[in-house]
C-alpha cells in the first residue's frame, strides 16, 4: 500500500505535484493549488465506526454533508459507508486505520486527488459558476462537504471557512478544474 507518500523517500526521486506553480487571482477571489496531503478512502459499516474513530483520533461524522476535524486531520462524510480522510501534515493514515480491528476498507489515495483552494468574498459565486448545489451558508455551512460536479468534472467540495472552499478532484482532471475556476474567478470578480 502507498505509505508515507508525502515524505520524499530517502535517496528517492522527487515528487512532482500536478498543478505546481499555477495560480489565479480575481479582484475578490483567489484560486490556488494546495500542497500534498496524506489521503485515505475509508469504507466501513456503522458497527466499525467507533473503533475506526478511536484509531484515527477523530470521530468519523455520520450525518450527510458533515465533516470532523482534529488537528491536521479532517474526515469528510461522502456516503453512508464512505469517508475521505486527509491529513495535511502527512501523518500515516493507513497505519492508523490498520490499528482498527473492526471490518473496514482503507485504500491510499494520496496521489489520486489534487486539492485547490478557492478563497475570498466571491468564492461562493466562483464555485457556483459550475457547481449546481446551493452553496449559501444556510444550505452549505462552514464544515459542510459533498461530492458533486463542477462543469464536466466530479469534485469533492469542502468549506473550511465562510469565504473559502477546498475543491478536490482526480489528478488528471485538475488542469480542467483549475482552469475552470480561474475563468470563473475572472467573472465572479468582474
Amino acid at each position: 500500500m502507498a505509505k508515507g507518500a508525502v515524505k520524499s523517500a530517502p535517496a528517492g526521486v522527487e515528487r512532482r505535484p500536478a498543478l505546481a506553480g499555477r495560480e489565479a487571482t480575481g479582484k475578490s477571489v483567489k484560486v490556488e493549488p494546495l500542497g500534498p496531503a496524506e489521503r485515505v478512502s475509508l469504507r466501513a459499516s456503522a458497527e466499525s465506526v467507533a473503533s475506526l474513530s478511536r484509531a484515527l483520533g477523530l470521530t468519523l461524522p455520520q450525518k450527510p454533508k458533515t465533516s470532523a476535524a482534529k488537528g491536521s486531520r479532517i474526515a469528510l462524510w461522502l456516503g453512508p459507508d464512505e469517508w475521505l480522510v486527509f491529513d495535511e501534515e502527512g501523518k500515516d493514515l493507513l497505519g492508523d486505520c490498520a490499528k482498527a480491528k473492526q471490518l473496514h476498507s482503507a485504500v491510499g489515495i494520496s496521489h489520486r486527488n489534487v486539492a485547490i483552494s478557492v478563497s475570498g468574498p466571491a468564492a461562493e459565486a466562483c464555485v457556483n459558476a459550475g457547481c449546481p448545489q446551493d452553496l449559501s451558508l444556510a444550505a452549505f455551512p462552514v464544515g459542510a462537504c459533498s461530492r458533486t460536479v463542477l462543469g464536466k468534472a466530479e469534485i469533492i467540495l469542502y468549506r473550511p471557512a465562510e469565504d473559502a472552499f477546498r475543491v478536490e478532484c482526480w489528478r488528471s482532471f485538475s488542469d480542467y478544474v483549475f482552469t475552470f475556476l480561474s475563468e470563473a474567478a475572472r467573472d465572479a470578480a468582474a
Binding site: P64, G79, P80, P132, Q133, R147, T148, V149, E154
Partner: protein, 98 residues
C-alpha cells in the same frame, strides 16, 4: 434539470449529480443457470415503460454514490417519493390515487 431527493443524503440535489439506472424491482434470478430464455428476456429486455407512475433506479453517482429507488410520474416528471435500495416496493403512494 430535475431535483432529486437522495434518501441517503437526506436532501434534494440537482439531477447533474445523478444517473438514471432503469426500471426498479426487476429481480435477477438467484438461479440464473436454470432461467428459461423467456424469463431471461423478461428480466433483461422487457420493460413496463409506463405512462404515469414509474418505479425506477437512480444512482447518486456524483454524490454519495449510492443506488436507490424513486417513484415518479412520467407525464409530469414529478417525483412521488424516493427510497433506499433493497427496500420493498411501497404499497401506498403519498398523494397518488389508486
Amino acid at each position: 434539470m430535475l431535483l432529486i431527493r437522495c434518501p441517503y443524503c437526506e436532501e434534494e440535489r440537482p439531477e447533474l449529480e445523478f444517473r438514471n439506472a432503469g426500471e426498479a424491482h426487476v429481480v435477477r434470478s438467484a438461479n440464473m443457470a436454470a432461467t428459461s430464455d423467456e424469463d431471461f428476456e423478461k428480466y433483461f429486455f422487457i420493460r413496463s415503460n409506463p405512462k404515469g407512475v414509474i418505479y425506477e433506479r437512480w444512482r447518486h453517482i456524483h454524490g454519495c454514490a449510492r443506488f436507490f429507488n424513486a417513484v415518479r410520474d412520467t407525464v409530469t416528471d414529478k417525483f412521488v417519493m424516493t427510497y433506499k435500495a433493497g427496500e420493498p416496493k411501497p404499497k401506498k403512494l403519498p398523494g397518488v390515487a389508486k
